[in-house]
Symmetry: C2
Subunit: 342 residues, 2 copies
Amino acid sequence: MTAKRPDLVTIADVAQHAGVAVSTVSYVLSAKRAISAATRERVLASIATLGFQPNAGARALASRRANVIALVLPLRTGMHLPILMQLMTAVVTGARGHDHDVLIMTADEGPDGLRRVADSSMVDGVVVMDVELSDPRVPVLRELRRPSVLIGFPADPSGLTCVDLDFHRAGARCVEELVALGHRGVALLGAPAVVYTRGTGFAHRTRTGFLAAVEKAEVSGVAWPCEEDQVSVATTLRDLLRRHPNTTGIVVHNEAAVDHVMRLLPSLGRRVPRDMSVIAICPDQVAERTRPALSSVSIPADEIGKQAVALLMAKLAGPPPPAATLLTPVLTVRSSTDRRQR
Amino acid sequence: MTAKRPDLVTIADVAQHAGVAVSTVSYVLSAKRAISAATRERVLASIATLGFQPNAGARALASRRANVIALVLPLRTGMHLPILMQLMTAVVTGARGHDHDVLIMTADEGPDGLRRVADSSMVDGVVVMDVELSDPRVPVLRELRRPSVLIGFPADPSGLTCVDLDFHRAGARCVEELVALGHRGVALLGAPAVVYTRGTGFAHRTRTGFLAAVEKAEVSGVAWPCEEDQVSVATTLRDLLRRHPNTTGIVVHNEAAVDHVMRLLPSLGRRVPRDMSVIAICPDQVAERTRPALSSVSIPADEIGKQAVALLMAKLAGPPPPAATLLTPVLTVRSSTDRRQR
DNA sequence: GCGGGTGGTCGAAGCGCTTCGACAATGGTG
DNA sequence: CACCATTGTCGAAGCGCTTCGACCACCCGC
């Protein structure tokens, strides 16, 4: 039996019903002043029976806090969709945990959109997904009168708060693992070429991490881009094995290509893991569904989203939190890696 | 050279700068009263130089319109992600076209979440994606004090505004096409079994449409659910061809399985389209990237999202629009269908 | 040339909430 | 026992905007 639903229940109705002042109701809700237990109970009861729900606009106006954050979607959809969704869900859930709601903006609203929602006090802060190395929204973010957190790193992250998986370490970690297993010829199959040319940070960072580790370990290693369709993957893989026949370990940083790679390798005479060890950088669910299951560095979208929100809330609350949060990559060994056979 | 950025520009600042009353500025912005061209120019100029952006909270409070709509994500992620994203983008873009922003809510906020955002006047209306046949959110929607539009149909759509592709017609249309090409044994490969048991409307409707058309055309036809992984698809397909060897036309309503089906059919001795015609119900981009390209009924996510917003805006503006909007399926013939060979 | 539109502008009253200062009523302290 | 902090509550002043009624010029028609 739901309460009657009058057209609009205001805080004044609650106050009257409970026999207290409007301000008292407000303080019960915000706990910014001490309220006696008896009064609190009474007010809470009135709120419940009347089905009072504070008016968001009025609250925002008076408190100068909208309790809403903006989430800006990626510029282009090169991003792996499942990761994107996970990230989104994590941000929304995280925000709700801090009593905030989430406004979404498509990237094509661009810098002006950011200004609009920020300057209209519609949102208290902004989370930008999938920032690119030279992203037109970044300068705007800097001069915005509201705090922001970036998921991903632009070329110059100074003055900004960024979160991401430490892809540099991730690339290196994969090499180290392969080297530890005795592999002396390794390769990185990365994102499609266009992703590098348009300057998406995580692709670059994985590559430099990979190459740095290759150099340090004094093994031979190459980093190739890789398209996403089966035919291109086949071509790329064939080329790779022809030009670098000593390759016995491959790192794949490309969710869409990973299935194809696993399927094609045996048909190119390389059984996994016996003849070829494969490590992916991808979400766990992708790694777990291939045969054999992939050893992988997971992309912890949930954690990234949660962190992004936490950082934004910290900025809203007070002194600036650390500028850069790099999550340490975790490598899970499954069945696609093995000691090098001699 | 951007204007100086004082801490907050209000409508009063604009009024003073332009030498008019606050209300005049408001009327320039809303055009709800006639304003002389001269004054308008002056006010607009002041707005531009001061970089005025109306405060969303104040506006919402005074006008009782937040200019925000809520978009509720699907309950479970059985939905094809690309479609979901397209839908989301279309809704956001559509909303912006009507000068509204979009708040996202994950489904696990549930009915209470809906009440919260609606009763707090945080949003003016609600769009719910991927409604299920018996959806706990539906009764809440009915008694909500704000208009809503559903994407998809619940079991009982009375009193609600719903939009969707006419999946019943889509299923029938595919059969008709195959029959017209001379096929007398057809099959529907649908969504995973769990999708039917949990009562997702579009899967059911496609099936009933398919079966009705089969009966009407007096051909033989079966409708099977179909899992999404390659192994299951192979099993299902093999079973199907064994138990119904006279099948020469297949309708696939399962984005994830469609690639596998196309790849597996030749290895089961059925070349497409020579031995087997295939029609998919899927987004165009999926249909276009297979070899051979798939004849398909497209799922017009953009159009659905646009319609949903348009309907919501209509409800906000005045008299209720049509309760049900069923988009007519369009079949595009590509290379996966052919006359039945005798 | 006078009454009645009508186009253009203003002032003020809210919208529903938060928050600040004020003020009883306590209770502990010297 | 007078004094001062505390604790709990209230009233009122905004927050920045929309909107309503009022008002003043006009211009038109008769």
